[in-house]
Symmetry: C2
Subunit: 134 residues, 2 copies
């Protein structure tokens, strides 16, 4: 069912420093910061030959990643995102297998403009998994 690893998302406490680490120290191809006010984050994409790293930095009040940074002040890997062809079919299969879908269970439009769902970390070895329909 799951397809490509679309991205690994890393919450960072200092976006400018994180950009410099990936661009200068690791020599990767780093995009421009994009504010996503509807999602409470500023994102920077790092393009690797086969996938992306997504740096996440809080934007505005009530950013969904502020709590993560409060618990992990140095930052850390926040989630990984797998591509699926049909997010409703994926959700129904997951629920049938007993996995918990976060929120209402209805897909939302994610930061990339595509339908996404998140799965409960306790069902997947403490990792937060995003599914994105591509």
């Amino acid at each position: 069912m799951i397809g490509r690893l679309n991205h690994v998302a890393i919450a960072v406490p200092d976006l400018q420093a994180a950009v410099a680490q990936y661009e200068t120290t690791l020599g990767a191809s780093v995009g421009a910061p994009q504010d996503e006010p509807d999602h409470g984050v500023t994102v920077v994409f790092i393009e690797l030959p086969n996938t992306k790293i997504e740096l996440l930095y809080p934007l505005g009040e009530n950013s969904p990643i502020q709590g993560f940074l409060d618990k992990n002040p140095s930052g850390g890997i926040h989630h990984m995102c797998f591509e699926v062809e049909d997010i409703i079919a994926a959700r129904d299969r997951l629920k049938g297998e007993g996995a918990r879908v976060l929120g209402t269970g209805e897909p939302k439009i994610g930061a990339h403009g595509k339908p996404v769902l998140f799965l409960h970390p306790k069902d997947f070895n403490g990792t937060l998994i995003e599914l994105e329909q591509v």
Copy 2:
């Protein structure tokens, strides 16, 4: 400098349960467990179309991931691995940029039989980065 994302490694407290989550619940292609006594882990590779997930489970006494599981009893993402063409050149560039290489600074032969180095998580947003020469 960094190339492909070779794998994302996840430390898991119950290997059989983790295999079932990826194989049955997420419908991914999951390999057979491989004991790596020299590295103190049993690994299972999950093949995605563009990269791999590596499940890590402690093997024997003094497994390097036991401490991680003690701190994260549900498991969690342990590290991510980027490919480099020349690990000595990569190390020297990183040290020149002030990044800390773990251990002696000399590459070791990793679980895939190739030279690897690990970078200090505090220099990279709380994420442990492995570099592998491919």
